[in-house]
C-alpha cells in the first residue's frame, strides 16, 4: 500500500481551493507550489519503483478489486507520471506573471485547468479500472478543451468546439467498449481481466470492445486519420497551453492504447489489430510530416509535427506483438521512450515558438529571418528539442528510434524501418526550416527592438536538454520501463 499514489492524485486538486477563493496572485502562487509538490511526488514514485524493482499499489477505501478500485504504478506509469508532472510544473513557471515576462497575464482559469490536468494525467497513468480510466479521460477532456480557447478569439472557439466534438465522440466509443467488457467479464480491473482472458480465449465481442475503446482513444490522441482537430486547436492556444496540450495531454490516451494492446489484449488479437495501428502510424508520419513542411506559420508547423510524431507509437504495435521476446520488448521500450522524449521536445518547441512570437509580434515563418539575434535562447531550445524529433544522437528520440528501427529490421518488418527513417528525414526538413531562417541576415536589416524573455527561454531550454539527457541513458529505460510487467496485484489471488 503506497500513500504516494493517492497523494499524487489528490494534492494537485488542493490548489483549486485558493484559486477559487483567494485573489489571482495568491491563487497563482499556490498553484505553482502545488504543482511543484506534485512533481516531487511523481519523481518520488519513480524512485520508489526503481529502488524496490516492483510496482507500487494501493486499494482505494481499502477494498480490493473487483469491488473496489486499485491504483498501481509500474515502471511505465512512473516514467509517464514523472515526465508529465515535470512538464506541467515547468509550464506553470513559464506562464507565471513576473517582472519582464513580456506576455499578458494568464487568467486564473489557466492554472485551475493545469491543476486538473495534473490530477487527470496521474489518474490515467495509475488507475487499473477501465471505468475509472473513463473518468480520467473525462477529467482530461474538460481540462484540456477550455485551454484551447482561453483568449476567447472566435477562430479558437471553433477549434475548441471541434476538439470537444472529437473528444466526446471518443468518450462515447470508449465507454461503449467498457460496457461490453463488463457485460462479458463482470469486472473492469486490468489484472482480473488478464487472468480471465488467460483462462479462455475471448470471442469476437471482446475484440469489438477493444476496437471501440481504441477508436475512442485514437480520436482523443489525434492519431491519423482522426488528427484533423489537433493542428488548429494546438496552434491557436496560448503558448503555455499549447505546450501542455501537445506534450502531455495527448499522451494519456496513447498510454492507454499501449495498455490495452500490449498488456491486456491476448497476443493473437494484438497481432491481428497491430497492422491497422501501424498503418495509421505510418500515415501520420508521412502525411502530417509532409503537411508540416508546407506550413507558413511556426505554431502550425509544430502542431503538425505533433500529429506526425504520434505515428511512431502506432509503428510500435506490430513489433511489440512479435514472436521474439527480446525484439518485441525492445520495440515496446522504444515506443514508450518516444512518448516521454517527445513530450520534453515538444513542450520546449512550443514555449520557444511563443517567445519568438512575442518578440516579432507574429509567427509567420517568412518574417522570422534573423530570429537567432533577438531570441538566441529560444532558437537554441527549438533546435535542441528538434534534434530529438529528428532522431539525432544524443537524445531520447535517437534512442527510441534506434530501438524501433533495430526491432523492425531484426523482425523483418522492412517497411516499418523505411517509415521510421523517412519520418526522421521529414522532421529534419521542418525543424531546419526555422533554424535556417533564424540564422539568416534579416531582409531589410531591421529587427524588432524587443528581446526574448531570458528566464522563460531558460525553461524551454531546460526542457529541450531533458530530451537530450534521456539519450545519455541508452539502456536504462529497458530495465526501468519493464518493472511491474505483466500486470498483477501483489497479495491478491487472481
Amino acid at each position: 500500500m503506497s500513500a504516494l499514489l493517492v497523494l499524487a492524485l489528490t494534492v494537485p486538486l488542493l490548489g483549486l481551493v485558493p484559486l477559487l477563493l483567494a485573489g489571482p496572485r495568491v491563487g497563482e502562487r499556490a498553484a505553482l507550489a502545488v504543482l511543484a509538490i506534485g512533481a516531487g511526488l511523481c519523481v518520488a514514485v519513480g524512485v520508489a519503483v526503481a529502488l524496490s524493482g516492483r510496482a507500487l499499489q494501493y486499494f482505494v477505501a481499502g477494498l480490493a478489486p473487483p469491488l473496489g478500485i486499485g491504483l498501481r504504478a509500474d515502471g511505465f506509469s512512473a516514467a509517464m507520471m514523472g515526465m508529465s508532472a515535470l512538464v506541467l510544473a515547468l509550464t506553470a513557471f513559464y506562464a507565471m506573471r513576473a517582472p519582464g515576462a513580456g506576455a499578458p497575464r494568464m487568467p486564473p482559469a489557466f492554472f485551475m485547468l493545469l491543476l486538473a490536468l495534473a490530477s487527470a494525467l496521474n489518474l490515467a497513468f495509475l488507475a487499473q479500472d477501465l471505468f475509472t480510466l473513463y473518468v480520467a479521460l473525462e477529467l482530461l477532456t474538460f481540462a484540456a478543451v477550455p485551454l484551447v480557447c482561453l483568449d476567447g478569439k472566435p477562430g479558437q472557439l471553433r477549434a475548441a468546439m471541434t476538439y470537444l466534438m472529437f473528444a466526446l465522440f471518443g468518450s462515447v466509443l470508449y465507454l461503449l467498449g467498457v460496457v461490453l467488457v463488463y457485460g462479458q467479464f463482470g469486472t473492469l480491473d486490468f489484472a482480473r481481466l488478464s487472468a480471465a482472458l488467460a483462462l479462455a480465449p475471448p470471442g469476437w465481442s471482446f475484440g469489438a470492445a477493444l476496437a471501440l475503446m481504441s477508436a475512442g482513444l485514437m480520436a482523443k490522441a489525434a492519431l491519423f486519420p482522426l488528427h484533423l482537430w489537433l493542428p488548429p486547436a494546438h496552434a491557436g492556444a496560448p503558448p503555455a497551453a499549447s505546450a501542455v496540450l501537445s506534450a502531455v495531454v495527448i499522451k494519456a490516451p496513447l498510454f492507454l492504447l499501449v495498455r490495452l494492446w500490449a498488456d491486456l489484449a491476448p497476443v493473437p488479437m494484438a497481432q491481428a489489430a497491430a497492422p491497422v495501428l501501424a498503418i495509421c502510424g505510418a500515415g501520420a508520419i508521412l502525411v502530417c510530416g509532409v503537411v508540416a513542411l508546407a506550413q507558413v506559420r511556426l505554431k502550425l508547423l509544430i502542431a503538425y509535427s505533433t500529429a506526425a510524431q504520434i505515428g511512431y507509437l502506432g509503428l510500435m504495435f506490430p513489433l511489440a506483438a512479435g514472436a521474439d521476446a527480446y525484439w518485441s520488448a525492445l520495440a515496446w521500450t522504444g515506443g514508450t521512450l518516444h512518448l516521454v522524449s517527445h513530450a520534453f521536445s515538444k513542450a520546449a518547441m512550443f514555449m520557444a515558438a511563443g517567445l519568438i512570437a512575442e518578440v516579432f509580434g507574429h509567427d509567420r515563418l517568412a518574417g522570422l529571418k534573423g530570429a537567432a539575434r533577438v531570441a538566441p535562447l529560444s532558437i537554441a531550445a527549438f533546435g535542441i528539442g528538434g534534434l530529438s524529433l529528428l532522431g539525432l544522437p544524443p537524445s531520447g528520440g535517437f534512442t527510441a528510434k534506434v530501438m524501433l528501427l533495430t526491432s523492425a529490421l531484426q523482425q523483418g518488418a522492412w517497411w516499418i524501418g523505411v517509415v521510421v527513417l523517412a519520418g526522421g528525414l521529414l522532421a529534419g526538413g521542418y525543424v531546419l526550416r526555422l533554424l535556417v531562417l533564424a540564422l539568416q541576415r534579416p531582409e531589410d536589416g531591421t529587427l524588432p527592438a524587443a528581446r526574448e524573455c531570458g528566464w522563460r527561454a531558460g525553461i524551454a531550454l531546460a526542457l529541450a536538454f531533458g530530451a537530450v539527457a534521456l539519450g545519455f541513458l541508452p539502456l536504462a529505460p529497458l530495465g526501468f520501463l519493464s518493472i511491474g510487467r505483466p500486470i498483477a496485484w501483489e497479495g491478491l489471488a487472481p
Binding site: T10, L16, P24, Y58, P66, L67, A116, V135, G186, W204
Partner: protein, 305 residues
C-alpha cells in the same frame, strides 16, 4: 397485463424518439426529446432500475432539455435534407451494430451485485447504488464532481472578464410572463421538497445526491427565470464555497477515513452513515449550484453603476 404495459411503454419510447428526429424545427425536436427522456425513465423503472430512472428523468430529460432549449433558440434553420438522410443511415447502422453487440453478451450477465450486497452492511447504508457511488467507488464520484466543477470553469473561461466578476446575462430578455411566474411560485416549493426527500431517502431507498441535485437545480432555474430571485454573482465568496463543498467535502472525508480507518476514502468505523450523509448533502448543494451556473453561462463582468 404487464406485457401490455411493456409493449405500450416500448411503443411510446420509440414514438417519442421518432418525433424527436423527424421534427422540423429544433425547438419541437428538443421538446420531443424531453418527452422521450421521461418515457425512457418509465421504461427503466419497469426494468427495476429506479435509480437510473430518476437520473434519466432529472438529468437526461430535465437539465439536458433546458441546455438544449437554450441552444435551439440560437439555431437558424433546419439542416439540409442530404445531411438528414446520411444521419438517418448512420443512426440505423449504429442501432443495428449496438443490437448485435448487446445480444452477443453472455446470459445471464456476470454481475458484481452479490459482492456489493455482501459489503453493504459495513457501510450502514440500505441502497446498494448509493453504496457503490459513495463507498465502494467513491474515487470515481470524487473525480466526477471535479469534472462538473471543471465544466463550470470551462463555461466561465469564456467570460470576457478573466477574473469572473459580476452576474451572468439574464436567461430571457424582459420580465417573465405572469403564468410562468405563478407556476414558479407554486411549483418551486413542491420541487424543493421532492429534491430534499430524494436526498434524504437516498441512503436506503432509490434516490441520492445526483437526482436530488438535478431536481433542486431545475427548481432554482425556474425561480430565476420567473424573476423570483436575483441572478447570482460569480465572484460571491459564499457561492464559491458552495461550489467547493461537494468535491472537497468528499476529499476531506477521504482523508478523515485515511486517518481513522487506514485507507483513503474509507469511512470512520462506526460513523460511516453519518459521514456519508453529510458528504451527500454537500455534494447535492454543489451539484445543484454548478448545474444552475452552467446553464446560466459566464458572468458578464462588473456592472456599470
Amino acid at each position: 397485463m404487464s406485457l401490455v404495459f411493456d409493449a405500450l411503454a416500448g411503443l411510446l419510447v420509440a414514438g417519442a424518439a421518432l418525433a424527436a428526429v423527424t421534427a422540423a424545427a429544433p425547438r419541437a425536436a428538443v421538446i420531443a426529446f424531453m418527452g422521450y427522456g421521461v418515457l425512457l425513465g418509465l421504461a427503466w423503472a419497469r426494468l427495476a432500475a429506479p435509480d437510473v430512472a430518476l437520473t434519466e428523468i432529472a438529468i437526461g430529460s430535465g437539465i439536458s432539455g433546458i441546455v438544449l432549449l437554450r441552444a435551439a433558440a440560437g439555431l437558424p434553420a433546419v439542416p439540409p435534407a442530404a445531411n438528414r438522410a446520411l444521419a438517418a443511415a448512420i443512426s440505423v447502422a449504429v442501432a443495428l451494430g449496438l443490437a448485435a453487440l448487446v445480444l452477443a453478451l453472455p446470459e445471464p450477465a456476470p454481475s458484481r451485485a452479490a459482492d456489493a450486497a455482501a459489503a453493504l452492511p459495513a457501510t450502514g447504508l440500505g441502497n446498494p447504488v448509493t453504496g457503490v457511488l459513495l463507498a465502494f467507488r467513491a474515487l470515481d464520484t470524487l473525480l466526477e464532481k471535479i469534472v462538473l466543477l471543471l465544466a463550470l470553469v470551462g463555461v466561465w473561461a469564456l467570460a470576457r472578464d478573466p477574473l469572473w466578476r459580476g452576474r451572468p446575462e439574464p436567461l430571457f430578455a424582459g420580465a417573465a410572463p405572469a403564468p410562468s411566474a405563478f407556476l414558479a411560485r407554486v411549483l418551486v416549493p413542491i420541487g424543493v421538497l421532492v429534491g430534499a426527500y430524494l436526498l434524504w431517502a437516498g441512503a436506503d431507498a432509490p434516490g441520492g445526491a445526483f437526482q436530488s441535485g438535478a431536481t433542486l437545480a431545475a427548481m432554482g432555474l425556474l425561480a430565476l427565470m420567473a424573476g423570483l430571485a436575483p441572478l447570482p454573482r460569480a465572484d460571491d465568496r459564499r457561492l464559491r464555497l458552495v461550489l467547493l463543498a461537494g468535491p472537497f467535502g468528499l476529499l476531506a472525508a477521504g482523508f478523515l477515513g485515511w486517518a481513522t480507518a487506514g485507507a483513503f476514502l474509507a469511512f470512520p468505523p462506526g460513523f460511516e452513515k453519518p459521514v456519508i450523509k453529510i458528504v451527500e448533502i454537500a455534494i447535492t448543494a454543489s451539484i445543484a449550484l454548478t448545474l444552475i451556473l452552467v446553464v446560466l453561462g459566464p458572468p458578464a463582468g462588473e456592472e456599470r453603476p
